[in-house]
Amino acid sequence: MTDKGIGARTLRKEDRRFITGKGRYVDDIRMQGQAYAVFVRSPHAHARIGAIGKDAVLGMPGVLGVFTGADVQADGLGSNVCGWNVVSKDGSGMNMAPYPLLCTDKARYVGDRVAMVVAETLDQARDAADALEVDYEPLPAVVDVAKAQDGPVIHDGIAGNLIYDWELGDKAATEAAFQKAAHVTRIELVNNRLAPNALEPRAALGHFDPGTEQHTLYVTSQNPHVHRLVMSAFIGIAPEHKLRVVAPDVGGGFGSKIFIYGEECLVLWASRKLDGVPVKWTADRTEAFLSDAHGRDHVSKAELAIDADGDFLALRVNTKANLGAYMSTFSSCVPTYLYATLLAGQYKTPAIYADVQAYYTNTSPVDAYRGAGRPEASFLIETIVGQAARELGRDPAELRRQNFIPKDAFPYQTPVALTYDTGDYAATLDRALDLSDYKGFEARKRESASRGKLRGIGLSCYIEACGIAPSAVVGSLGAGVGLWESGKVRFSHTGKVQVLTGTHSHGQGHETSFSQLIASKLGVPFEDVEVIHGDTEKTPVGMGTYGSRSLAVGGEAIARSCDKIVAKGRKIAAHLLEAAEADIEFKDGQFTVKGTDRAKSIGEVAFAAYVPHNYPEGVEPGLEEGAFFDPPNFTYPAGTYVCELEVDPDTGTTEILRFVAVDDFGNVVNPMIVEGQVHGGLMQGIGQALLEGAVYDQSGQLVSATYMDYAMPRAWDVPFFEVETGQGTPAQANSLGVKGCGEAGAIGAPAAVINALTDAIGVRVEMPATPEKVWHAIQATRHAQAAE
């Protein structure tokens, strides 16, 4: 049975339903008599809303209701909230404006929800929504974060559209270090806005049962308990004990399905308004582009002070972060505590100072997207270090190695608040250089040149932080929730096991990894384990899946539940075996009297626990144990990525030739799944670097709102990746030694690609480095050279 346990490339038990079309996603659920909601969205980026012609639409065929912001207000529903209060330099709290479920006075971005139409069929709802007349008075809009301060006021009373002006690090020590610098590398860069694009669009099906007054919401969520909490405590849809949130199979999230959106609250509310008619909404793709929270969108200036030997002395960073028209659920912590805290990277830079201004703009809200703050930090550090190496004429690998935190320096306190627990950065660098044949690059570059192509190689030595914790610390920094996780292990009479987890799987394969955990910890066959998640009525309260926390935090809660099972089982086995509890050993599913062959299997112990006819006195019947785990620290995955690419100077087209990724994820439960997570992350990171951009024009129209316009990475954009994990340094924050692997690829890849591209063409191009931008950059370089 251990051949499928921890460390095995066990095939996924969830796959059979997905490959046979038997998955059950929200839009697949159909309730008797369900109606359909369609949202009327603002076509203007900023507009005052006048009359809404409800009455004309109410008479249309099949229409059951038309709801506006005034109806929501009249019913006393509250505003959506951002759950992390970031405090500004001057001690003031962030300027959080109301985030209404439906617009009241104004629409603040294209796609803002103005009204909801509910009808018996989807076609009827669409027809009615199309017919709804809304009077708009368009107002000037601002979309660029760099212009936000001088743009029109988006929320009354919030001058300069400033949400907060925050800082981290020792400003004086940083200034002093710059005075001693032999060289200063300066950089200005954009971290491009992205649309998350989970392939399953967001969807929600709300049902109010007038008999029991129970509210049930099926929703595309990464964290159903967080949905329940916010919808109950802040929005007031229903009291928490009368609200059930179910997230069934969910088709990808990447952060975008963490957040609580108006649509999902409103369909449940509408079901109650319509006396129990179930109401379903499913986004189409353009709605997803317009209304899913976007990611990234920073503009930064950074300076790196370096001494005459090439040692980094200090890093100074200013970042302006675009949070869009409203503050989404966790938006405030992304460009602060998930970003500036990572600015040390893998380096022992002694002084770091960062300040961050976050602004409202007339764009879709911006929140966590795969990596959330860490990709922005990693891109900034690894780009400026790459530029420093070029300016100093140093080999970029060696300049990095010289400045690495040495492996004997852990635990290592960075100047930006974090304590790294373990790591061996030189090991992953060496392995990546070896795998990529870094030494042989010059010969390959010459070969490319002989064909008229520009070849480049780029490094990225990223670090990130997963499993954000502990709760008391994040609370002191402004978090409104705890960041622990729950687990429960339940045996049945027949020795089968149910694992209940507060995390949620939307592609990560928890049903497999958590079963592997049980197989190894309890010796129960992998096939005898069922993992249950995604239903607030079944699982203990949990905080959900994001920030690569599920195994490091949720898995540890399960591991601790297993320890409790063994502790109780030992008592029962001792009684059954007429031995002292201290003499009972547990291994591979057997409780054995030390030094004998007398044993009871865990299945026999479970049966005895449920049929306690011959049972130890004072021990409760049953075999079911749970744990809540609040980690003492983050985990810190790190690694080195090497990208090698070729540019066609005539067309500006970039072709990625090789991509090597060596990651330290600590211990690995399922290498197959972990490698798959890296592959997907790399693709999103490469997509950010070369292809993807959520682009607004100056009037605030999203011009990349379909797959015809937004360049999603396709199979032909990359070669096979060369990924290696498993040589890691075990994490200290959990007994499993696991770190988290879901975001690393997206965090580390962009800088590797852009450094390689810069190496190829000699200048850095802002992301996404499209063929047009690359071609212009090459032309500009050639003109400049010709003029010299």
């Binding site: 996924r12 079309g21 059950r24 399953e200 793709r285 379909t706 990359v718």
Partner: protein
């Protein structure tokens, strides 16, 4: 309403539909075949690929009335096609089996369309190169896998279907 009669996964089906009804709506809404997914509205993502008279087709881009008289195979019916050919293993079409074996899926949402599209490719070209597989997948988006294991799975399925001992090596 317009009357349509077609064969879906081997069964004769008749329905009255609005003329604007898409084939994918007929499958999902009227026939409860929810394995066929909708991921976009511009015929780009490929989550909705089915076989129409054996040919891979985006069911979001075909009206139900255009499918009148045709034979449709959806992801739910693919294994039965392989069973009939004697090529099924463990109740799965070789492409389905290869996706599981090679971890060619994560969230599973693009998977039915990917598998149907791949089966179409392999019916035309049993020995595609990596380049041919990647080109073929132009019309299928995946956000989870970086396509790495999808391409591997398709090449491995090709090898299985043509009885080769090992799949073609990567280029």
């Amino acid at each position: 309403m317009t009357h349509v009669s077609l064969k879906v996964n081997g069964r004769e089906v008749s329905r009255d539909v609005e003329p604007r009804t898409l084939l994918v709506e007929l499958l999902r809404r009227d026939l409860n075949l929810t394995g066929t997914h909708v991921g976009c509205d511009t015929s780009q993502c490929g989550c909705c690929v089915v076989h129409v008279d054996g040919v891979g087709t985006k069911s979001c881009t075909m009206l139900a009335v255009q499918a009148d008289g045709k034979a449709i195979t959806t992801i739910e019916g693919l294994a039965a096609v392989a069973e009939a050919d004697g090529r099924a293993e463990d109740g799965l079409h070789p492409v389905q089996a290869a996706f599981r074996q090679h971890h060619g899926l994560q969230c599973g949402f693009c998977t039915p369309g990917m598998i149907m599209s791949a089966a179409d490719l392999l019916s035309r070209n049993a020995d595609p190169t990596e380049h041919e597989v990647r080109e073929w997948l132009e019309g299928n988006l995946c956000r989870c896998t970086g396509y790495h294991n999808i391409v591997k799975a398709i090449m491995a399925a090709g090898a299985t279907m043509r009885g080769a001992a090992t799949p073609r090596a990567a280029e």
